[in-house]
Amino acid sequence: MKSVNPPPFATRLLHWFYASPQAEELEGDLDELFQQRVREVGLKQARWRYVRDVVSLLRPSLMKRKEKRYSKPTHTTMLRNYLTIAWRNLRKNTAYSFINIGGLAVGMTVAMLIGLWIYDEVSFNQYHPNYDRIAQVMQHGTFNGKVDSQVANPGVLGPEIRAKYGPTFKYVVQASWPGSYILSLGDNHVSKEGIYFEPDGPVMLGLRMRQGTYSGLKDPYSIMLSESVAKSLFGTQNPLGKTLKVGRKYAVKVTGVYEDLPYNTSFRNVKVIMPWALWLIDNPWAKTMRNPWGSNFSQTFAQVADHITMEEASGRIKNVKLANVSKEEARYNWVVFLHPMRKWELYSEFKNGVNTGGQIKYVWLFGIIGIFVLVLACINFMNLATARSEKRAKEVGIRKAVGSVRSQLINQFFAESYLVVSLAFLVAVLLVLVLLPPFNEIADKKIEFLWAHPQFWLMSLAFIGMTGLLAGSYPAFYLSSFQPLSVLKGTFRVGKWAAIPRKALVVLQFTVSIVLIIGTIIVYQQIQHAKNRPIGYNRNGLVTMGVEKEISDHFDAFRAELKSAGAIEELAVSNSPLTGVWNTNGGFDWAGKDPNLAVDFPNANVTYEWGKTVGWKVKQGRDFSREFATDSSAFIINEAMKQFLGFKNPVGKILKWDNKPYTIIGVVSDIMAESPFYPVRPSLYHITGSDYQGNMVLRLHAAKSPNQSIALIEQIWRKYVPNVPFQYEFVHQQYGAKFKSEERIGTLSAYFAVLAIFISCLGIFGMASFVAEQRTKEIGIRKVLGASVINLWQLLTKDFAVLVLVACVIASPIAWYYLTDWLREYDYRVTISWWVFVVAAAGALLITLITVSFQSIKAALVNPVKSLRSE
């Protein structure tokens, strides 16, 4: 039969210009007329008329006809629909939603806290308006072929730079070390941290003056107070022009009050500022010393001139010290350079004259951990979404059959993921607000939530965008690609391969978690290793405090009174504390010394009872004794020194110090004064003169409780020193502070490890519940056929256990590599032992089994009648 069809090109033409409902109507009319005409006037004529009709229909007035009866979906209505559906989906699967939102929220919280921490670190010192142009003047010196870098400078360095390189710098400020000073207002004595600056200090730092001007340090007898100190001393009174006493010696006039420096600045502890001129008055030796370039006892800060770069300025001053030192000193090849303020916090370490970094490595470390934890949370989302895909495949099939376009499905899934991400973000903000105080405590920070920073909110938006995209992309693109026909017919099966990426992601999650567990264990081991190191003295029951002038004047009476009261067993004074080295000297000589060897030994002058008080162990020779008058020119050396000197029996040997001979009378155990992660330096001890200065150490009486003894000491001390705050510290606490930065890393990585595990477990919990649900029928049948609960438990748990074991295998070498790298920085380090890896693996496995078992046992216990009844 001959076909009686209208010309197809005309029909196509119609469809080009008309949307479907209108085209349908018009085509119907055309077709009907065509059929009619075929009957009446013949095919050819009918075709011709058909074309004419089509052409006549192509008129603009018809095309622009608005069809009110068809709802015209706009983007917002679809969006509303997406969100409604997403919300219903969340409500329907509460457990699943909880896992998703909770996991993501925890991940985001961690990422946000770390982000805030990094922001704080990176913005360190930015409070100072001249942040980019300020630098600390430092020097490299070469000793025995090794370059050491130090901040300590001669007191004449600042004035010299100012005189010779004036135009290069805007300000040059010589400064003291920050220290604790007693301020007295009448009978009110307080101890405050302060520093001595040359007059340009305040203007260089751009302090925000509350009262007075930047020029407040011109007069040597003046002082500038921070707002908090001014308040605590003067209350509501106007402090300007009032007179205070510093160190119970110098009357100074308050010339300014400045806003307290925020916690993320290097000078945060500087609560009072005094003129450098006053320091010179208090330390007259600094001016009268024979060789002012040979002694490094102060700091120098500078602000480079506006048109000069930091590097250029640094290059110009490099020989400023070398040009002034003696020939003897010149062989250390002193190079003066600028360390910019920008780098003080994050790049504070120097190795062999090169700025190698410092805190920045923790910024990287925690940054990476933060990203990883966030990725773990996103993985949960992706995994759960794809795991549920079989369930939602039907939904996708029906939606497609009803007419959803793929892009609508993609939008639907993205709407769901963005809803979850936004909710998680809200929860995370709340969590961050709750967790900031304890986090600040651990991290030793004063971080605040950045409510008012547009950058923060932009970052958060970007963050939500990224996370939503990351978490939603897989389900959106994967699920929406299902073929409706196969899905609805039931022939659709998510094949073997579909589970592979899911498994890979679980392995990734656990790899990260296990690396963190191993890391935490080893950091703690390293701390414990260093803590267990012999310290050379007995730190328990030891108390340390400063020596006031009154005590120094009546030292023997004070000591006798304390002993007779039974408060202490012994007490002694040294110019260096037990837990630090305040004094190192060169100028030593001995028989057989290589003339080119440069030496710099920590040394302390002590009273006779020092050894007895701290409880050091005499290995050779004897301790100092009042019975030998010659002990005033005797040395006691430590074992490291004995090794350094290379004497088999050093007792009785002569050691010259500035050409004065000293006899070595004893060798004692190495006392751990500096970092417990590094070897003890060769050190020596000698008897102090009659002027007792520095630190007093008291051995409390073992029979009394420390509190009783301290109360007694204070009572007796007050008799001698009536008006000064009584301050003391336990040596074991001081010693414990040496581990602070390592312990901080340990604590933080422990928390992060716990959170990573938590998130991974949430994910695996969701997966297990899903698998159990999916296999309900299978379990029922197996049970009917006689499988025991144990069998079923094995069946459901095995898969996950295998994944965790794979993760262990991957994680171990990674952890080993990075931790070996970390430990390499410590001279005294723990060896990584195999059992750490076993413990971490076993721990991860155990946690996984517990998590999964909860679901699998529940599934295995279900009565098969129930699971098989339906269908």
């Binding site: 018009l26 119907g28 004419r52 052409v55 192509l58 007035s61 009866r69």
Partner: protein, 108 residues
Amino acid sequence: MKGTYLGEFEEVVLLAVAIRSGDAYGAAVVSEIEQQMGRSVNLGAVHSALNRLQEKGLVSSEMGGRTTERGGRRKRLYAVTAYGRRALDEMRQLRNQMWDTIPRTVWS
């Protein structure tokens, strides 16, 4: 004001809709006019006239249900509104009135 004036073709289309009332759609109107007037009209002209009539409120329209006719394609069914009916009445009265006022002598 729109709607006060009815063109000749519009009037014809409106009448065709009235004739076919209950089953007045594009193709039906076309064949009705062709049958009644013996002249061929374009579908496009009819549709645009229907369109204008609807804008003027003389007809209303509604999509019909699916039937087995026309390959299952739906049709838009038009109906004369009360206002359309009045317009037709007025038109007719006007014509009658004019006829009545023609002097008899003219034709004889």
